[in-house]
Subunit: 193 residues, 2 copies
């Protein structure tokens, strides 16, 4: 019998991505989306954002649920756009990011995902995943969403937009989500702990 | 006898600016700064941000207080950086903004300030002020702070960085603040209402 948990997000792409990662892990978990237009806090810190969001949402729904946030941190831009990745994407797009990076030799960046899970009001569990990457010099490929077409994982030579075959293994979101699945698995089967 | 109200901000430049505007209005109001590291919400909407911040802060201090937020909205960048003006300034600076605007012929923008005042827990009063401007093609002048050196008010041909003589009359912050002062003045002298 599969266990149901709720993913609080307005982003259907993220739900599909989590589901794909989940299918790989065969963990007997079923994810259902909750669309809840909650006020997120303004912060550079993705862990702080998901913790706040999960607490607010849990207080309302009182069901096992998790929130996720992913930031993009570009070294030569002092960490911009950080946890404001979505806002910046919507406003200036990948073209804006590439324009800011024009002529910049240091193209190091990382993606950082934080997931916060709550199934009771006293505890919250945060899982994070990081992926080092470099910013491509142009938009490359059409797979994926968000920053996928300009981020080249350091362990690959292509963007996720060009080749998404390893995305569910190595992305920041996948790493955070796998830690979360391990936690749930141990919770269900405490003998493994 | 002057009346004391509290300004919740970490930005000493803003306190000085409010005080200068206040000196012009001769309203018998004294401003004192409260530095409170409260979690602001992430939003495009400066009114929503100050309302949330004032409510949180009032619940804690229960003293007459106000919060202020100013956004910069650049038309050709879909309103970027909006209410994230400070975050963007800290990360990519005015040079980053100018780089994004490079080659852009539409340089229209506006600044929008919202102030929220509370002196009891049931009511909150929001005052806003707007200033239309254009984005300069380079950093011009050294007066002021924040975006002052790249914003040319439409009624002037210089940035506030070059000439701040009219700033306390025409800026978005000055306009919002004057509405707020009028409100306080009418509150003290209800015969004027």
């Amino acid at each position: 019998m599969s266990r149901k948990i709720f993913f609080v997000t307005g982003n259907a792409n993220k739900v599909a991505e989590m589901q794909s990662i989940l299918d790989l892990s065969n963990a007997g978990i079923k994810i259902e989306q909750i669309i809840e237009d909650i006020d997120e806090i303004s912060s550079d810190d993705v862990e702080k954002i998901v913790l706040n969001k999960a607490r607010q949402t849990y207080a309302k729904y009182r069901m096992p649920l998790f929130c996720e946030d992913t930031g993009v941190f570009i070294e030569s831009l002092n960490g911009f756009p950080a946890a404001n990745a979505r806002f910046v994407f919507e406003k200036i797009g990948l073209k804006g990011i590439l324009k800011l990076m024009d002529g910049e030799s240091n193209r190091d960046a990382y993606m950082l995902t934080a997931i916060c899970y709550m199934d009771n009001e006293k505890e919250s569990h945060v899982f994070s995943g990081k992926m080092d990457c470099i910013i491509a010099d142009s938009i490359r490929g059409t797979f994926g969403f968000g920053y996928d077409s300009i981020l080249i994982p350091k362990s690959l030579d292509k963007t996720f937009g060009e080749d998404e075959s390893k995305k569910h293994m190595i992305s920041a979101r996948a790493k955070a989500f796998r830690k979360f699945m391990e936690y749930l698995n141990n919770q269900q089967n405490p003998i493994n702990q």
